[in-house]
Amino acid sequence: MEQLWSDLRLFREAFVGGAIAAGLLAFLGLHVVLRRIVFVGIALSQWAAVGIAFSFLAQSIALFDESHVLGVCRNHWVMAAVGEGLGLLLLLRGDERVVSREVRIGIGWAVAGALSVLFVAQSPVGMEELKNLLTGEALFIDRSGLLLLGATAALVLVPGSLFLARFLLVAFDRDLAVSLGVRVAVWDALFYLLLGLTLAVTIHLVGVLFAVAFLVIPPAAALSLARRQWTLVLVSAGIGVGSWIAGFVLSHRLDLPVGHAAVAVAGLVFAVARGVRALRRGA
């Protein structure tokens, strides 16, 4: 136990940062699951990874010298946002009757995965960096990463909570929202902006696997357990944070990678939640 407290002190920023990332992803993920855009979320995270991978490559190309305006391409955050913007354009625009969104998501996800590998393979840091990006290194969140996560959480949670009813209305019944004079395009844009920001920051700090898992699993588990809108939000965020804490403790006890342990715990919580739901229905 003493060793755990000592590790907690040592990895204080990582522990708090991981909890913020897990809670934030679980909060926003509820909308992702309800809008049935889980694969948009997964593909978007892959496109953020393309942007970050390109930023690694740019660091070895003279054209992207820091003194030049194109030097901005060396910045991980900027390029993650650019990657997501590109991904959103490819995923959401286009004629549904010619190529369905599902097909575009599949193509976008595969191409983005390939581009990430190709960009990083050509960069001086190489495949090790890509591996970190995909598998995540939540334990390496430092003070600046923690501050960034805190700022992102504030930027996302405040509008996400204040406008929860509007976001739900637009997701639940777009036609009704339009008939009431709600500008659905504006609310959609705000939602994707918040989602893009969250994914860009969390993927760089905790990895693609962690980000995607916490975007999907806690909300899916919460939907099996809770009914009221705000209870759902709180249960989803609670499962996210709780799974992270349990994963952290488990990784300490069994010497496991912390991100993977947290994802496994979240998966277990989901299975239990489904069991509870089945029991309730049977009762």
């Binding site: 639940f172 036609d175 009704l176 008939s179 009431l180």
Partner: protein, 255 residues
């Protein structure tokens, strides 16, 4: 006739380059009951969605009273458009448009809850308020959607096949309620339906959409035997019973 609440001028509607309807000129006044009928694919739902602002017209304009602010719409969509993945109760569904009126408020107010419960009571679902929407029967879901439309205190009520899946008694009660509100509050009603009998009995005026164009006029002129037979087929007849028009399909001999 009252001042028009809604005016369509030369409106053309369709998808991409395909035009479904062209040159529609139409006025709807406060307190008016307009039935919108036509065969499958004639553009009934597309037309009401244009009125609601969901589809932009390909040509022409849609104006509100005196060129002023958009009226408050109550909209009852076709029931199968609602996604059952949302874990909402009947009360939540009615609360959504009420809560969304507030710009900077995370939760519905007490007044919102009261209004939502009152709307559910009007459609006879007060005791189902806390039941999950997805678990309600088809008819109950339809009544929840009617309650949701009424809760926003609309000036124009748009109903798209509101009685589909309802038994005759429930359908009658819902339409009686709509009638009463129209008379009390001067509500304009746009009713889209395949059920010509229902439209003939309720609507004062009918807009009939068909492949070759559209027709609008008093119900007695539009829902008329020869015209309906021509549009829907020889077997479709309009009968009179106790002063009401009833549209029936007569089986073919030997069929």
């Amino acid at each position: 006739m009252n001042v028009p609440l809604l005016r369509l001028e030369g409106v053309a509607l369709g998808w991409g380059r395909r035009r479904l309807l062209e040159g529609i000129d139409l006025e709807v006044a406060r307190g008016e009951y307009l039935g919108i009928v036509g065969p499958n694919g004639s553009g009934k739902t597309t037309l009401v969605k244009a009125v609601l602002g969901i589809h932009a017209p390909l040509a022409g304009t849609i104006r509100w009273a005196g060129g002023g602010a958009r009226p408050r719409f109550g909209y009852v969509p076709q029931r199968d458009q609602i996604d059952p993945i949302f874990p909402f109760t009947a009360l939540d569904v009615v609360l959504l448009p009420l809560a969304a009126r507030h710009r900077l408020r995370a939760r519905p107010t007490r007044a919102d809850r009261r209004d939502a419960r009152e709307a559910l009571e009007r459609v006879g679902l007060a005791d189902q308020a806390d039941v999950r929407y997805a678990r309600l029967s088809g008819g109950q879901r339809q009544r929840v959607l009617v309650a949701r439309a009424l809760a926003v205190e609309p000036e124009v009520l748009v109903l798209d096949e509101p009685t589909s899946g309802l038994d005759l008694g429930s359908a009658g009660r819902i339409l009686d309620l709509v009638d009463a509100l129209r008379r009390e509050r001067g509500l304009a009603v746009l009713l889209v339906s395949h059920d010509l009998t229902l439209v003939a009995q309720r609507a004062g005026r009918v807009l009939l959409l068909h492949e070759a164009g559209w027709l609008s006029g008093p119900t007695s002129e539009i829902v008329e035997g020869e015209r309906i037979g021509r549009l829907y087929g020889d077997g479709v007849r309009v009968l009179e019973s106790d002063g009401h028009r009833v549209v029936v399909v007569v089986p073919r001999a030997g069929g």
